[in-house]
């Protein structure tokens, strides 16, 4: 039945197109750029309104807790650049001096206000598991 075969092919193609569209649109709705501190200064882009992600190291001795340990402030360093970061919430176990962290949030008056803090382990020896931060988002 050649007609039937055609229908199947049309259906498969349609399904693929819809899925692909669905995926790309979905991706667009949750894009978060990964930038460097240098980029924040150098580009003309107005970063103030944008949510973005930063990766770097916690400057030694810069961690300060306040508000009964519920707020933490520290300096994030990337090679020569640095930026103050503020985060509200419980910090992951591996959050400490020199830890490699990834923060997600927005700039506010020169301070990066993070709503998500993840750590990667940069301890003395390579260790293969670190900890996803709290509030990674709701799952269905």
């Amino acid at each position: 039945m050649p007609g039937q075969r055609k229908k199947f092919i049309i259906l498969i193609v349609a399904f693929s197109v819809v899925t692909f569209g669905w995926i790309t649109i979905g991706a667009g709705s949750d894009e978060v750029p990964y930038v460097s501190i240098a980029q924040l200064v150098d580009t003309d882009h107005e970063w103030k309104q944008t949510r973005f992600r930063l990766g770097g190291y916690v400057d030694e001795g810069s961690i300060v807790y306040s508000n009964a340990r519920r707020t933490v402030e520290f300096t994030l360093i990337q090679e020569d650049d640095q930026l103050p970061v503020r985060y509200e919430g419980l910090t992951p176990d591996m959050f400490k001096d020199d830890a490699e962290v990834i923060v997600l949030g927005q700039l506010d008056d020169g301070v990066f206000v993070a709503d998500n803090l993840m750590t990667k382990c940069a301890s003395r020896y390579e260790v293969d598991i670190s900890e996803p931060a709290y509030d990674l988002g709701r799952k269905i």
């Binding site: 910090t91 591996m94 400490k96 799952k139």
Partner: protein, 658 residues
């Protein structure tokens, strides 16, 4: 011993090389001596690799801290069982572990096919040999686990760093081995598919020969993924079990395509259609397992599973490209043999049900792959690394997951070839009624969220379908064979184990979806409480009774006694801890306090102590229905076992031939 282990690996490399050569020679000249020789060398190589892994375990157990690997991943204070876990805690060890798992599979495949599949086996051996060769090459040249530390190194004297405390958990003991057993195992059906292509034996023989070889890795991989979730839930303390982390995704992807394959092979077995499709699916699945290893091991994606970035990436990438190119070449070479003579006849047939199931699984895999690779793709295209988070994954996968649930229900209700209107009506009326009824009741009870409502309806729809079919089957047997209800059920399942095992797996998946839906109703709260102070959350009163420090041999713990009451009745006392392990003083380790009730989990972690206000910082969560995820996982495993175990008829046949 270090030299011994390294030598074993080098010998295994040489033996594998000769096995590949001999297999190829046999295939060329059909000289049986070379077939036997190849088989023996490959088995020998496998045993040597397993021996090397056992040597490393032995070194970990006796604590030879002169070996760099042993010093890094175990310590005198670790329990024996966690010393063994050191084998897969680091890069070098896990590669060796990988190779030894492959060796085990090779050994078993050779054993079970010693008298069977003589045309396929030489090619199967070549494929298995090449994969083994690649891993041994990497181990020998870049990641030798038997490297000796320079004399007088401090970490040797102090007796090793020890396993990261986060890994010291029962689930972490089994999770990596299970994942590896799953990952590596898909190489077997892949090798058979390649062999079938090369030898033009593209009927269902290779598929029948590998049915169990596919189910076993599929089971291990699924169980490994679920256990990983369990570990994250009880150990990491962020209250969830799945974060769409690249490494999690990497293990989930081959499971998805593998599931698609498990379904589509049924059509080839029954109808001799979709030959090309099945070959492609298993190729994709195998490529994804190697690609997953590449993602995990190369450090190109920033993942919370931060393996050290190494220059291995390029080798793995090269291997992936080699696999893809060879597969494409093979497919082009054999494209004429792969076309089916038969066509799908109707949309409302079980065949097309399976086809749509496949498309949806692939769409799901594509969506997850796309999101995982997005940082790399966007950097290549736009020059900026852009990541997508769990919002993307949840938004994209939820509707695809719902579609899949629909098919789980619809598929089994359709007949082969085409389903007549009368049958459609008969088969669908009750399940549809059950589904809509459940949704209406849930709405009347006040459920308003869209996804949970849909899931509730779909679960009822699928369950009703399975139930009706089972009841009809039992009735028929009772009528024909005059058996009692339970005997009828048993013999019905035994007659068609893959089918009913599949249904049980479906029920497990339903349970898991109910658990996922529960996430929409979870509550969490960060609180600072002093002694005697309390917080009320969803009708539960959480009161800090006291907090104190306890000293243990390998750690010291800060503990909070958190009394929980509901309607003035004590429920439990939660004891979240914050531990500091010896050797890991600057990394506190939160121990989750978890109290599971049938319908909800009470979950608490302690974030710290503030001396100024004399209060402790706590995160309290109430997670409904999480138990259903684990229950679903157990049912899934049981269902797969039902499908795996031989039926009575098969067992009898074996006795006769034996």
């Amino acid at each position: 011993m270090a030299l011994f282990g390294a030598t074993l690996i080098q010998l295994a490399f040489l033996l594998t090389l000769s096995a590949i050569g001999m297999s190829a020679w046999y295939f060329w000249k059909q000289d049986l001596r070379f077939y036997v020789g190849a088989r023996r060398s490959l088995i020998g190589a496998s045993l040597l690799v397993i021996g090397a892994a056992l040597t490393l375990i032995q070194q970990l157990l006796v604590g030879n801290y002169a070996l760099e690997y042993v010093a890094r991943y175990s310590s005198r204070t670790n329990d024996g069982i966690y010393k063994i876990a050191g084998l897969w805690a680091g890069m070098e060890g896990s590669l060796l572990f990988w190779a030894s798992v492959l060796g085990t599979y090779i050994f078993l495949v050779s054993y079970f096919n010693r008298k069977r599949n003589r045309t396929l086996m030489p090619i199967v051996n070549i494929v298995l040999g090449i994969v083994m060769l690649f891993f041994l090459f990497i181990i020998i040249n870049f990641e030798n686990p038997f490297r000796v530390l320079p004399l007088g190194t401090a970490i040797e004297a102090q007796g090793g760093t020890g396993l990261n405390p986060l890994l010291q958990n029962w689930a972490m003991l089994i999770h990596p081995p299970l994942l590896y057993l799953g990952y590596v195992g898909f190489v077997v059906p892949f090798a058979f598919a390649v062999a079938a292509l090369v030898t033009k034996r593209l009927d269902a023989t290779w598929i029948r020969s590998t049915r169990r070889w596919t189910l076993i890795p599929w089971l291990f991989l699924g169980a490994g993924v679920i256990l990983g979730g369990r570990w994250a839930y009880v150990e990491l303390g962020w209250g969830g079990y799945w974060a769409w982390d690249p490494v999690e995704n990497a293990s989930f992807l081959p499971w998805l395509t593998g599931t698609a394959y498990l379904h589509s092979v049924i059509i080839q077995e029954k109808k001799n259609m979709l030959k090309m499709w099945n070959v492609v699916l298993i190729m994709i699945t195998f490529t994804l397992t190697i690609f997953g290893t590449y993602l995990t091991r190369s450090g190109i994606l920033s993942s919370v599973h931060a393996f050290a970035a190494t220059d291995l990436g390029i080798w793995f990438f090269g291997f992936v490209v080699f696999i893809i190119l060879s597969c494409v070449a093979l497919l082009v070479w054999r494209k004429d043999e792969l076309s089916s003579q038969r066509r799908l006849e109707s949309f409302t047939s079980r065949e097309s049900g399976f086809l749509f199931n496949n498309m949806i699984f692939l769409a799901l895999a594509m969506a997850i792959l796309w999101g995982t690779m997005f940082p790399i793709l966007s950097e290549a295209v736009r020059g900026v690394q852009i990541t997508v988070g769990s919002t993307y994954f949840n938004r994209i996968t939820a509707p695809i997951g719902m579609l899949l649930l629909v098919l789980v229900g619809v598929g089994p209700l359709l007949s082969w070839r085409r389903t007549s209107r009368a049958t459609l009506l008969r088969n669908f009326t009750w399940p549809l009624a059950a589904g809509t009824g459940t949704m209406v009741i849930a709405m009347l009870l006040g459920m308003r969220q869209v996804y949970p409502l849909i899931i509730a309806g779909l679960v009822a729809f699928v369950l009703a379908g399975i139930l009706i079919e089972t009841v009809n089957g039992i009735r028929a047997r009772r009528r024909l064979a005059g058996e009692g209800v339970f005997l009828a059920l048993r013999s019905m399942i035994d007659k068609n184990r893959s089918r009913y095992g599949g249904y049980i797996v479906h029920i497990g998946i339903l349970c898991m979806f109910i658990g996922f839906a529960g996430k929409a109703f979870s509550t969490e709260q960060d609180v600072s409480l002093g002694q005697g102070e309390s917080e009320i959350l969803k009708g539960y009163t959480f009161t800090v009774d006291r907090f104190y420090t306890e000293e243990h041999p390998s750690y010291s713990a800060f503990i909070v006694d958190l009394a929980v009451e509901k309607q003035h009745r004590p429920v439990t006392v939660l004891r979240p801890e914050r531990r500091h392990y010896t050797n890991w003083e600057d990394q506190p380790n939160t121990e989750v306090a978890l109290f599971s009730r049938p319908l909800e989990d009470l979950y608490a972690i302690v974030g710290g102590y503030d001396p100024e206000s004399d209060k402790v910082l706590l995160k309290i969560m109430i997670n409904p229905l999480v138990q259903m995820v684990w229950l679903g996982g157990i049912i899934l495993i049981l269902g797969t076992l039902v499908a795996l175990l031989p039926s009575r008829a098969e067992r009898k046949a074996k006795e006769v031939t034996a």
